[in-house]
Symmetry: D2
Subunit: 290 residues, 4 copies
């Protein structure tokens, strides 16, 4: 897998396929939002619960630093005002989140030829999540959750993906996003799926994704792509092929159940990562409007 010396977005670019999301893409998103229904797509962040996040990461910690109990215990309201405060600590990839381009690499090289060594204890000097800004574009909603071929560990091949998108009747345009419901999350919640074998995209989808100008792929599973990898030479071949080689963003652990009940073909999708300087991902609440 060759690393281009410069990406299609130019030497030095750190935003990758977000560059494809121009005003026209945003306006396509707006056009898909015509009923004004707002659907948040995040899973709940629960104190000290790993939820669907992978085991190697820490559980979120939600600390209350002031609350009603303090006042009940005698703290006076100061000048007619009581308040609560809290602190949240969580792995940026442990809840519903978006990956920074700095999240993955191969052979020491990440997107656009930047070096893995640009990411240190000080954070990502290159391609951090703070470089993304915010995404507002059209997303095609692709639902494999009720597919006859559904399995909680299914590899969704490019042919499957293309066929279903064709059936939806909306041809993707550059800057569009994909919202993929694999059905894994629903199965996992029902106790019918684990975290090690998860339905997702086969890496043979990468070419079509890139060729179609998709800027972001989001899914209701751990890694967008099927796990374990079907590529013996690479543990995360889709990540490498789309994010590292082509600057396409991935967002994971979305809850698409409510959206599925609306069965939209396309939505306006807004994903606004926290502006963590040098972060390699961010927890988010993606929003679909349709």
């Amino acid at each position: 897998m060759e690393q281009r010396t410069a990406s299609r977005f130019g030497a030095g670019d750190e935003r990758g396929a977000a560059n494809l999301i121009d005003a026209a893409a945003t306006l396509r998103g707006i056009a898909a939002a015509g009923n004004g229904r707002v659907v948040p797509l995040a899973m709940p962040i629960l104190n000290n619960d790993r939820g669907a996040g992978v085991e190697m990461r820490a559980a979120p910690q939600h600390f209350m630093t002031r609350h009603g109990g303090d006042y009940a215990a005698g703290l006076p309201e100061r000048a007619g005002y009581g308040f609560s405060d809290d602190v949240i600590m969580l792995p940026t990839h442990g809840a519903t989140h978006i990956d920074a381009l700095a999240h993955v690499w191969r052979d020491g090289t990440m997107y656009n030829g930047f070096r893995a060594t640009d990411v240190t204890s000080r954070g990502a000097a290159r391609c951090g999540i703070d470089k993304l800004g915010a995404v507002a574009t059209r997303a095609l909603f692709v639902d494999f959750g009720d597919d006859p071929d559904f399995a909680p560990d299914r590899a969704i091949h490019s042919a499957d993906l293309e066929a279903r998108i064709a059936a939806g009747g909306i041809a993707p345009e550059p800057g569009d996003a994909l919202l993929i419901r694999t059905g894994w999350l629903r199965a996992w919640r029902a106790g019918a799926a684990g975290k090690n074998a998860t339905a997702g995209l086969h890496h043979d989808c990468a070419d079509w994704i890139v060729r179609s100008g998709i800027a972001l792929v989001a899914a209701d599973n751990i890694a967008v792509e099927v796990m374990p990898s079907r590529d013996p030479d690479c543990a995360m071949p889709l990540h490498i092929a789309v994010t590292r080689d082509n600057g396409v963003y991935l967002a994971e652990l979305l809850d698409l159940e409510a959206l599925a009940s609306l069965a939209p073909r396309a939505v306006m999708l807004v994903i606004a990562p926290l502006a963590i300087k040098g972060g390699v991902g961010s927890p988010v609440t993606p929003v679909a409007i349709c």
Copy 2:
């Protein structure tokens, strides 16, 4: 200040003025987004830096738990795949954020008659930020940053606010938001303002805000309202009058500088808090589209 036994949104309601953001409001927002420009409104989250956040809160901590340095130090890429990971810890009110309705109370009572004691070390059992979902509505942009009366500690009275909105030519409708640029942030960055005396809304704005059906007020300062309080009987009178008494949301520490340069009269505003179960606020990257 009387606490209603039930809010205008019904006994038991925990979403407050977010209920005003119906499909019509979202569609008004969409109508304001006509040029498709996407402007993120968050301040950067910097490791171990308090930034504009108040001193009593902790500085954000950004921990890298795996990065390129580990591979440089000898960690092999596993099956053609290297990655970085990180953890973020921050006070939910210490960066650009939105307050939950559970954030404030008076006389032991918060929005809709819920008790302050509903907020404990386990988080907010009532009116937590997870009850909000996501906001997507029209926001009127009101810029006092270049006002002839600008001062970094100015109290913006209702008359000022109403006059400027009238001058903008767009009458607010129920479910709209306000984006208020006080100019404090710019002054603070320039070293021309402190954190204890900050420009903001005088509490005499509360009636107009509520009467107009405003669902959310966001500003480029610490507390939306002017600090210190001009009300000798209440340290945060606007918070009490709008959030506690009427369920109106406040969002703070927004960076409105880039938006100001576009000088829109209205924008589509999307604010999607992290789904922190029982959280009393959430860091966010608000997004303006215009």
Copy 3:
């Protein structure tokens, strides 16, 4: 269970049975240290591993904030000097630890009549771990690990405890500590014991402990006392009877395996909690010298 209006150590006292550890007690400890062998008694603190700590608490998080990988990635040593840095986050009761007197209460009252409400989000205003200072005294080592009656969920009754101490031939004196090896930890590590049913002291030991002037009881289990409680009216009756009612300290999750192989009858025991202002416990590495 009556709460004394003032403890045996005087109204206002916040150190409890630590007051019994006078110079004579410390010198008894010193006399037991005659062979100069130093045995640390802590379990390892492992990143993101709950170990033997109870499930409701968070796993320790060990964050490296600078390390050799950063230099390998290109960070230059500044003036002939490279260094690493780290941050530790852990529940104070989640690893080998000592309880503060502020850790437990009944009927809203903790040690010496102080109110549970003295412990708030600001920490323990009374009886925090910072009030203890450091313990250096004689500890009798009582090993039930190889007892013929051993069971990983055994309730050790006062008769058992007294008999074994009598067999050891050293009569406790005021200010002494007890190091109790129940054998639970060894069984737990071997997969032969769980966290819900743990060997430990029956609450009928409380009277003898208090009467003997024991200042601190430490054990190789989760709560010193047997779990679940044998008292239908109290979930932690030994905690209440010794700590709350009498100011006796408890230390938990000690690793006494190495010490057991030396089979001392008594040791010098040093426990020096972190000086966490208002902390309700502290991780420690207890040290036995014998």
Copy 4:
């Protein structure tokens, strides 16, 4: 500065000068503890306060996860038992602490020829603080706090150190520790000293320290050694010369004020770091017994 291919304690050794603390050293410590006075030497750990710790590190965070306020707010005691719980997060070098041998290096090499790259995001694979165990030995107390030459930024030269130890009348023996009161902490607390120019040992003390078989040097300042460095070629020359080149431990930010009032010539010193696997330092409460 040559790096030995193997330390004086053998190839592969990870404990350094702690090897010098044999039973004889511990017994010397015990002999110095003859009056049984126990003096903790830690500075308080205060929530969200950097105290004397250096600015680049985070302030400790003390989170209460359950407390009396929760019960005041309505949480029932379960079966006659209420409790509080807390979490502590702090940089291991931000409060009174001991450095691991893995804390410093030069030219990519740390103690005993181990590589800086042995310290990664996973912690120190070599020479972590967990390798130390616990220190219990004799410490000579050397008080420059009332020296006629005292200055809050004084460089204490080897001649000064040797003279004062000679005046104390106790010749160091291998495995002994030094407790150095520079007076900086007292001056800093009085507002008469900063954090950038701190009294401490000149690096010309290194040879004497190593030659004397000192296992650990602890002081009431930020880095044991004088800051800024008097060596233009090295920012922390004493760290390099004693810790990196010779495995001698350094402990910093001790509060020696109470001990100074007792004016002992020697004490028993116990330092028991938390057993943080791979930690590069540990907060501690050192204990002097004299």
